[in-house]
Symmetry: C2
Subunit: 429 residues, 2 copies
């Protein structure tokens, strides 16, 4: 009895100490709403568990859209010269403009947006990447806006909306307060005639994950919908350079009126292999205004000057190289390499009788497994092929029954993956 | 009459067109609360106006704390090798861990936090800078926390709190809902016995702008205050390497119990001249918990994985070089150079009879102009000396009557500034 009582006392003391060590700061209720982890860390966890259980497995990743090919020579030289200049009295740069230095803003404008309505070099806001810019945009919009997005969609739109308090809680399938625009085969463009008004519309084209690119007519419809409702489109064009179809615009600003209703965000990540280098940009016309008439760009800059200090000056030097003729050529060759991977993967699945989307204008292949749960298919492919894909449902409820295969892989791995897929699924599912 | 009516009709049409071009998205009410621009862009604007009015003036900037000296050789080589490796099959890196790669986390831990209670290499979260990390922390905390900060203080603490909705409106002097801890001469440490409880306490030491470093006893008092109240200290140690006084800790984690109540954020900006390269880190112990017992570090990572993609891998390569012996020596020499500038400036003002603080453990010199408005003094110095300083009131109401002179300048400019100050103020104010 004495021993037990002593044990209890010790335990009580330990609990008291533990309680004392906890602060009284309440956890952010919005962060608490988020389901599990961000998709890709979750996939990495499952991949690692599979590797641990199968130490000899040579796992191939067609999962996260992460570039695998080395930087190209001209662009790398640009980065290197950027670093070297920083060690000289003449070339040293301290804090730069949060929006990026003028030469890179001008180079992006001249290469991709020249002469478009409502734009000039000052409309280009250079940053450390689209994902980060989306975070700053969400901070700018604040909690009192309503949000619509494609379903399926890149998870950052949902998760950042939840964090900023624009949504309710998760209801088992989705978050209350978000308008999910279902995007169905074959063209994965939402039915806007049934869509309610929201303040913000996230729209990604070429789409991640479905690999579909919206046509000029569809984007014209989207812009008309936004203008009718006084909405702002956040247009994610991170894969625009993968477009081959001349009927699919490479920027929303090709559509008349977009300057007054759209923000475009884009990135060097998938064009130049800059996923680790970190460089992107966002385009906001001076014509884009909040309801009170104040320019959106002004508030975006205010956020950037408060919680950001600009992209690395070395990355910016690399970005300038990307926009010069030699770098531009290298980038396009790199994109073509991944596009070829995508086409190889698409052809493989088609030959095995699967219904497959994407690949033609995007680095992603969207493979249908009708009636099956995406995470089950993900696990099955990991088990049977030692290949990591991304479960379609990770991008939203409407993505269930699909997996996404990324073309961001070395060619030899893609060819090896093709062999494994054929062995596992060549006889049908 | 007809002409006038026609004019009015035309005007009405123009107004209608204007109204149509405006979205119906409400401007974020929190962003709208912010006063004028962020301090340093505001100063840049006034500097540019002065230059335009005086085209021949050779303006010297002792304003924003922006490094001026070129990168040192070993550290630049680290950056360059980082870029070169990215063009090789073996060295290429795509998306990295949002928290930074293990080698740099380990290098920072081993160099600066080795063996401290509650910390290990996994407590180090590498990023693109402290300012950016503060933004992500604020996003993590959300609007339902109360905030205290030193007055005067680095403006980012206030502005990011306003943006995230933690405050009321500006009342002419200050923001409602923020606890301003007045920091008065001579030691600029707040009177905590009179301070109310808040969830978050921003604390910067060595302080920007006053240049004062808190002693071990003061930090022990601060930690006790936070633990008593269950608060979280956000400890900004961006200038810690400038400390000479052995009685002033270089990290809050030297104080027992800090792991359970403090986050520390720090940066390579002022140590290695990385203001343009972009690299910093934040330290969070697994022992730091929200009121519900959940680890703060877990939510910080969730924010980072959602709206951030890690610091540039090239900057990280430079950061590793900084933490190696050769780089560490170069960094300390660079810090010593700026420290010498600070001491030259301090001595100059002292010899002219001013009351001056800072410089001994910080890169900033805090010069008293009792009874005068800081912006007036700022303008006067700009007019009389062609020198940019920073008005003390830009850091908070308690900073009025002071200007901050930054030591981040080339020595020849500091010496030239000294001559100009002597000419203008050598006979007294």
């Amino acid at each position: 009895m004495i021993a037990a009582s002593s044990f209890l006392r010790t335990r009580a003391t330990a609990l008291t100490v533990k309680a004392e060590a906890t602060t009284q700061v309440k956890r952010n209720k919005n962060v608490a709403k988020l389901q599990a982890g961000y998709l890709f860390p979750e996939i990495a966890k499952r991949r690692n568990a599979h590797q641990a259980a199968n130490p000899d497995a040579k796992i191939i990743s067609l999962g996260i859209g992460d570039t695998t090919e080395p930087l190209t020579p001209y662009i790398m030289e640009g980065l290197k010269k950027g670093a070297e200049a920083m060690a000289t009295k003449e070339g040293y740069k301290g804090y730069g403009p949060e929006q990026g230095y003028a030469p890179i803003r001008e180079a992006i404008y001249n290469r991709l947006y020249s002469g478009m309505d409502g734009l000039n070099a000052d409309s280009i806001y250079v940053s450390d990447g689209s994902k980060c810019d989306i975070g700053r945009m969400q901070m700018m919009f604040g909690e009192d806006v309503t949000v619509a997005l494609q379903d399926p969609a890149y998870p950052v739109y949902v998760d950042s909306s939840v964090i900023m308090g624009m949504t309710g809680s998760h209801n088992g399938d989705n978050f209350d307060g978000i308008t999910y625009l279902e995007c169905k085969a074959p063209d994965f463009f939402p039915d806007l005639s049934k869509a309610p008004r929201t303040d913000i519309i996230f729209f990604c084209s070429p789409n991640n994950p479905t690999g579909s690119a919206a046509t000029r007519q569809q984007l014209t419809e989207l812009v008309a919908f936004a203008k009718k409702n006084g909405s702002i489109i956040v247009y994610d064009a991170a894969y625009a350079l993968f477009i081959e179809d001349p009927d699919c615009p490479k920027t929303i600003f090709e559509i008349p009126g977009a300057a007054e209703c759209a923000i475009e965000t884009c990135s060097f990540s998938k064009y130049a292999g800059f996923t680790g280098v970190r460089l992107g940009w966002t385009v906001i016309s001076d014509k884009l205004k909040f309801a009170d008439g104040s320019p959106v760009a002004k508030d975006f800059v205010r956020i950037a000057t408060t919680v950001f200090n600009g992209a690395s000056v070395i990355s910016q030097a690399g970005g300038i190289a990307c926009m010069e003729d030699a770098g531009w050529k290298e980038m396009n060759e790199l994109v073509a390499y991944y596009k070829e991977n995508a086409k190889i993967l698409k052809k493989t699945f088609q030959e095995m009788g699967f219904t497959v989307y994407g690949a033609d204008n995007a680095p992603y292949v969207w493979v249908g497994f009708p009636g099956r749960d995406s995470w089950d298919v993900f696990s099955e492919i990991l088990e049977r092929c030692d290949i990591v894909t991304t479960p379609g449902s990770g991008f939203g409820a409407a993505g269930n029954g699909f997996v996404r295969a990324s073309s961001f892989a070395q060619r030899e791995n893609v060819l090896e993956a093709v062999e494994r897929f054929k062995k596992a699924y060549g006889g049908g599912q």
